[in-house]
């Protein structure tokens, strides 16, 4: 009956809300376990501030990756684009560009590489975004080595360092005084805008439709080629932003920066509950996916587990996250 709540809808809502909460529960569980294992280190303000700062660039990359994955695409180039943008940012700063101009150049360069990805897909009709972005992964990394001569460039502008490593202290002078990294605030702001864009605008809705059923989007008169170029441009621009944050944190542009970062961003998107087949995934989930990866790395670091083992655990978490999703979907199908 239209307009009248079907029986059981209330319970359905509760269950749907719980399903959305499960990532949050995982985060809380991880924090509880880490607190129990490392009581004197984990739950300190210094450590949590540190985690928030460390996840910033992966979280920003993952937000861009989500936009692409929602359309059933993938962007393998984000790590290389991040490295290239860092190098260009550092070179522009060295050349005496004003801070704002060099920031804009870095982000615009990311957007430009993204546009190349999108146009290769829609104009050259390359069969899958995997291929176009694999090409730009190599081009951007090569360009990074060429521009930097293969050596790190240090000495970024104070503005960039402020973005990447400064803190905003809330409740200063009280026992509650907490330092929140500026980069983390940038992340929160970007995810806020990303959520409004994806969930509340017609364009965001069209992205989900395109990922769910491209034919439906075409029938509805949606310009799917324009939409695809847009998501790769945004993904590239966000890779530029991620590069700015990382360069500011380490006060250096090193030519190997961002190698493998595309895979971390994809991992955060998958752990965050987005579907590789497109049409599914929320910024909130992906944010928690990035937090889960950050907590895992931090916890293993605190327990002196080697980085090699960390990689093994990240792999297992990806496997687990996707398997839980498979189980949940199967349960939903049996139900209906």
């Amino acid at each position: 009956m239209v307009g009248r709540a079907a029986p059981g809808l209330g319970w359905d809502r509760v269950r749907a809300a719980l399903a959305r909460m499960d990532l949050l529960l995982v985060v809380l569980l991880m924090m509880a376990v880490l607190t129990a294992l490392q009581p004197q280190f984990f739950l300190t303000r210094e450590n949590l501030t540190n985690v928030a700062r460390q996840i910033a660039s992966n979280a920003v990359l993952a937000l861009g990756q989500l936009l692409v994955v929602v359309t059933a695409g993938i962007d393998l180039s984000v790590g290389s684009v991040m490295g290239l943008c860092m190098t260009v940012l550092a070179l522009a700063t060295k050349a005496g560009w004003p801070a704002l101009a060099s920031l804009a150049a870095a982000v615009a360069l990311g957007a430009g590489v993204g546009a190349a990805n999108g146009l290769a897909l829609t104009r050259l009709h390359l069969p899958h975004p995997f291929i176009a972005t694999l090409a730009t992964l190599n081009v951007a990394r090569g360009a990074t080595y060429l521009l930097s001569g293969g050596v790190p460039i240090s000495g970024l502008s104070p503005e960039v360092r402020w973005l990447g490593s400064a803190d905003l202290t809330v409740f200063p002078g009280t026992p509650l005084a907490t330092a929140i990294p500026i980069s983390f605030l940038v992340v929160v702001a970007l995810y806020g805008v990303g959520t409004v864009f994806l969930r509340r605008t017609p364009t965001g809705r069209h992205l989900y439709a395109l990922g769910g059923n491209p034919r439906a989007a075409q029938y509805a008169g949606i310009d799917t080629a324009r939409l695809l170029v847009l998501v790769y441009v945004l993904c590239g621009a966000l890779a530029g932003v991620a590069g700015v944050l990382l360069a500011g944190r380490v006060n250096s542009a090193y030519p190997t920066a961002g190698i493998g970062a595309e895979l971390d961003s994809i991992a955060a998107v998958i752990i965050g509950g987005a579907s590789f087949f497109g049409g599914r995934g929320t910024p909130g989930g992906v944010f928690l996916g990035a937090v889960i990866m950050g907590l895992l790395r931090n916890g293993l670091n605190l327990m002196n587990v080697s980085v090699f083992w960390q990689q093994v655990f990240i792999g297992l978490i990806i496997l687990l996250a996707v398997y839980v999703d498979v189980l949940r979907r199967r349960a939903a199908q049996v139900e209906s």
Binding site: V2, A5, L9, R205, Y208, N213, A216, A220, I222
Partner: protein, 248 residues
């Protein structure tokens, strides 16, 4: 003089290379009329409808819409006049809910600061009204379409096609994949559209469905009109004879 036909196609011819897909076909639909369009595979049904929706351009012949001659260069042109198509694959985004699908590409928005944001309450209200008018019953408007049954999905696709002042709806095999009870509901829905003076072209291989609901049945055979029969009094054997007529 009586009111003009909603759509009148005259002398439509279409060739694909050496193949003549349609040979001077006349086809018309009156306001509030249900016309069954039947024929064997390759008889030209879908080519004729693709010309009517602007996907193809005819090599000869003319199309009049409510008395005015029209030239469609894309499906958007025909949609602007109120000609909508329900495809066999439905063309729904199954990951989105019914409200989102009904308004896909035509979302209602409201300005918030510099953004135009989706006006979900307004869309939900109008979707509920529209489905109410068609007497379509769904468990919830906010359930992803993939959770609905085949018949319910078909109803959503038809509701989507008629949500924006449609004057003519073309349905391609709307009952092909449905169980009998669900197919019956779709036929009821077609009658309800007719009562609201929407014209319907029904393409189907299920002749009993076509005869049950159509005012007229147009039979195509190898690109020509083989016959036009009154829907309710026609006998199945006559329709079949026209469909296969002339075959070796």
């Amino acid at each position: 003089m009586s009111a003009p036909a909603r759509v009148e196609m005259r002398g439509i011819t279409k060739r694909f290379g050496p193949v003549v897909a349609l040979q001077s076909v006349d086809f018309s639909v009156q306001p509030g009329e249900v016309v069954g369009l039947v024929g064997d595979n390759g008889a030209g049904k879908s080519t004729l409808m693709k010309i009517l929706t602007g996907v193809y351009r005819p090599d000869a012949g003319e199309i009049r819409f409510e008395g005015r001659q029209v030239h469609f260069s894309s499906p958007l042109d025909s949609r602007r006049l109120g000609i909508e198509m329900v495809y066999q694959d439905l063309g729904l985004a199954e990951n989105l809910d019914t409200v989102a699908n009904l308004f896909l590409g035509r979302e209602l928005t409201r300005p918030v600061w510099l953004w135009r944001l989706l006006d979900e309450p307004a869309m939900e209200r109008r979707a509920a009204e529209h489905l109410e008018a068609l007497r379509v019953e769904l468990p919830s408007l906010r359930l992803a379409v993939e959770r609905l049954s085949g018949g319910q999905r078909q109803a959503v696709a038809i509701a989507r096609a008629t949500a924006f002042a449609a004057k003519l709806v073309i349905m391609d095999e709307p009952t092909a994949s449905l169980a009998v009870a669900e197919a019956g509901k779709v036929l009821e829905l077609i009658r309800r559209l007719r009562d609201q003076s929407v014209s319907v072209v029904l393409i189907s291989h299920r002749l009993q469905d076509v005869l049950e609901v159509s005012d007229r049945v147009v039979v195509l055979n190898r690109g020509r009109v083989a016959g036009v029969l009154p829907g309710h009094s026609a006998r199945m054997e006559d329709v079949v004879a026209l469909i296969v007529g002339g075959a070796a």
